[in-house]
């Protein structure tokens, strides 16, 4: 049965007869005739574009693929290639990571299109990162379910019974619609699910038959109303208990990881901390707390937590790891860093998003009070509950506590500046010098750092003044390497209409996973300053090899085998230039860094990407 005959017989439904639309459905072909009809003015993919526009996807990142050819064509022609605009990516991992980075800045998802087979396989690691990072990404995958409709050869290799099953363990929801009505409903549902905390990636399969189905000119698809769900808040009685414990505590610590989803979350945490004059440790999954706030004790997080009589965790990825140390020696061991009697409280949606197979949920934390609820949504009611309990006596205690914390915070900043001065003129460039030169170059701009900072010893968080939510976005979530470059460009795309100067500290090994993202950036004029942290190694793995070699009494002489990226050294400036990106380097003398940054920033301010390759110390 060929497609056209099939449509005559069972208009509106896919193979298998599931969810048959009624006879006489508006999805029937334009007319029945004996002569073969070779063209149509409308197709199912047009309706899919209407749906995508209705839910508000601004961009769709994709490497082209035949299983979604009709949708691709409908986006650029029927949809006018605007909202969504197609972003050409050279790898599906880049497509998803771009969407991941975009959502970290913008708060809402953009789209990704990919083959349901080979494309999704490429995309899988980036989807895992988004899942671990609780970030919404909207993925549409093409597939041809009806075996009799597949072209011989490649289309069979690119077809699958259950496309989303590949990533179902680490995505939030998926569906395989069998009619356009089904597509519309599931597409809207997918968006709401992706955006409800804990957020996550979702997938919709766009069957090629549905995409390419010819439609009559008067066919209209009803698109359900999109209503985003209010995020879950902690139970009132439990929040009252949390407030009582916080007010009674002598040395409470507020630890935040993925707490501030929006600027409002940051403001609420500041409000709570100032109300209590409590120490705050920002673990950096989001921009939770101003780095130079006098209550910020992140620079001495272990000591602060160890001295606390109450630890309140807000959307922590790893509460157990927050209050324990783990020793990675021949015999692994751990111990609590909490002082005896210290209480632990969690406010989190973590338990709402867990899956069994992939173990990113970390070790089970023993808590005194666990509150299931989105931390950002819960903080305002916690603030109000605390306000009701604070007495004048407690206020005096809080104020004294705050003064001590401010002294500690000031001392930490002084220490950071002193520490950064060691090996200041060394080459390769120290990561402290790199960070300070970057800070000097951007501090008077509306800047946004869109890479994590742990690869450069957290120097930016120690030395820069972060106070706006858009100034930091945290890391990859799943530590899947290859995230930073595409996610940074995605974040830069989101920052573009705001005119922010977007900067990233780009690890060399990460860029080499899918450097084609540089071409994407040049092609689409995405303004981003990439400063290479080029330590010429997968340095984390160098250290692991070194650990094993020493443990086995063999020495580290061969720890570079399979872990370093040298011989030949990669000239990242040439790589970038070859893809149309302005680039300088490699810079080995730190004195050359400031003028190179100045020139590169001038390029970025004109709306283009720029890269400065800096040969750096390992960390």
């Amino acid at each position: 049965m060929n497609r056209r005959t099939f449509l005559k017989d069972a208009a509106g439904a896919l193979a298998g007869g599931a969810a048959l639309a009624g006879t006489g459905s508006a999805q029937a072909p334009p007319r029945e005739q004996d002569a073969e009809s070779l063209t149509t003015d409308r197709c199912g993919a047009d309706c899919m574009v209407d749906v995508v526009k209705a839910i508000g996807l601004e961009y769709i990142c994709a490497n082209p693929g035949s299983s979604f050819r009709a949708l691709h064509e409908a986006i650029v022609n029927y949809g006018g290639n605007a909202k969504p605009e197609l972003i050409t990516c050279c790898h599906e991992e880049s497509s998803v990571a771009m969407a991941h980075g975009f959502a970290k800045i913008d708060g809402k998802p953009i789209g990704v299109m990919a083959h349901g087979t080979v494309g999704l396989q490429h995309a899988a690691m980036a989807i895992y990162n988004a899942y671990c990072d609780r970030v919404p990404v909207y993925i549409i995958i093409g597939n041809t379910l009806d075996a009799t409709e597949r072209r011989p050869g490649v289309e069979w290799a690119h077809s699958v019974q259950d496309a989303s099953s590949l990533v179902r363990d680490f995505s939030k929801w998926d569906d395989t619609p069998v009619s356009l009505e089904h597509f519309a409903e599931s597409a809207v549902r997918a968006y709401t699910i992706a955006m409800t905390p804990p957020m996550g990636p979702v997938l919709i399969v766009a069957d090629s038959e549905l995409q390419e189905r010819p439609l009559t000119g008067d066919f209209t698809l009803r698109i359900p109303k999109l209503t985003l769900s209010a995020p879950p808040q902690g139970d009132d009685a439990a929040i009252a208990d949390v407030a009582r414990m916080l007010v009674a505590a002598e040395s409470p610590v507020l630890v935040a990881d993925r707490a501030a989803r929006t600027p409002a979350g940051l403001a609420s945490l500041v409000q709570l901390a100032e109300l209590l004059q409590a120490a705050v440790v920002d673990q950096g999954g989001r921009m939770n707390f101003p780095s130079r706030h006098p209550l910020n004790q992140s620079a001495q997080s272990r000591a602060t937590i160890g001295a606390a009589d109450l630890v309140l965790g807000l959307e922590l990825t790893d509460f157990w790891g927050t209050v324990n140390t783990f020793r990675d020696q021949l015999h692994r061991s751990s111990r609590s860093i909490l002082k005896p009697g210290a209480k632990t409280i969690a406010i989190s949606t973590r338990d709402l998003g867990l899956r069994a197979n992939y173990q990113e949920f970390q070790r089970y934390p023993e808590l005194d009070l666990a509150v299931t609820g989105d931390a950002e949504a819960t903080l305002p009611s916690l603030v109000e509950a605390v306000k009701r309990l604070v007495t004048a006596d407690r206020r005096r205690v809080f104020d004294q506590r705050g003064k001590k914390l401010a002294d500690a915070s000031n001392a930490a900043l002084d220490r950071a500046h002193a520490d950064a001065g060691y090996a200041w003129d060394a080459g390769p460039v120290t990561t402290a010098r790199l960070s300070m030169e970057m800070w000097d170059a951007i501090k008077h701009e509306d800047w946004s750092l869109v890479s994590d900072v742990n690869m450069v010893s957290n120097w930016p968080k120690r030395l820069w003044s972060f106070d706006k939510h858009s100034q930091f976005v945290g890391g990859s979530g799943g530590a899947g390497v290859g995230y930073t470059a595409p996610a940074s460009f995605g974040a830069a795309l989101a920052n573009k209409p705001h005119g922010r100067l977007t900067v990233t500290i780009q690890p060399d090994g990460d860029l080499m996973y899918a450097p084609g993202i540089l071409w994407t950036a040049a092609h689409h004029h995405i303004p981003l300053l990439s400063v290479m942290h080029n330590n010429r190694a997968y340095h984390q793995e160098v250290m692991h090899l070194q650990r094993m070699a020493n443990r086995h009494n063999r020495g580290v002489d061969r720890a570079h085998v399979g872990t370093t990226i040298d011989d030949p050294n990669i000239d990242y400036a040439k790589v970038a230039q070859g893809m149309g990106v302005y680039a300088e380097g490699p810079i080995e003398n730190p004195k050359d860094l400031a003028p190179a940054l100045k020139r590169a920033i001038a390029v970025v301010k004109k709306g283009e990407p720029a890269l400065v390759d800096v040969v750096t110390q390992p960390r």
Binding site: R327, D328, Q329, A418, D419, A420, G421, Y422, A423, W424, D425, A426, P428, T430, T431, A432, N454, S457, N458, H539, V542, M543, Q546, R547, A549, N550, R551, N553, R554, G555, V556, D557, A559, Q617, P618, R619
Partner: protein, 87 residues
């Protein structure tokens, strides 16, 4: 190390790189998130030696099979000779 011969520090620099100390502590022993600063005022040599042979935390242990006492002393001379920070 007061009075250490320059050649000891030079040898120590080579050993510091060869056995991978710099991977965590930086090429100038300036420290990083992966390992603390070691110079120019290191802890006393006996403690320094203990920290290398039988580290209490996560540092990989360096037994005498892979780092001799003489090499360790050279490393100590190297980290002691590091420059002070810029003001």
């Amino acid at each position: 190390m007061a009075g250490a011969a320059p050649q000891e520090a030079d040898r120590g620099k080579q050993t510091f790189v060869r056995v991978g100390c710099y991977q965590c502590h930086g090429r100038e022993a300036q420290g990083a998130s992966t390992g603390p600063r070691l110079g120019p005022d290191p802890m006393p040599l006996p403690q320094f030696t203990r920290a290398i042979r039988t580290p209490r935390a996560d540092m990989p242990p360096y037994s005498t099979k892979i780092l001799s006492e003489a090499e360790l002393a050279d490393i100590y001379a190297y980290v002691s000779s590091r420059a002070r920070p810029r003001k």
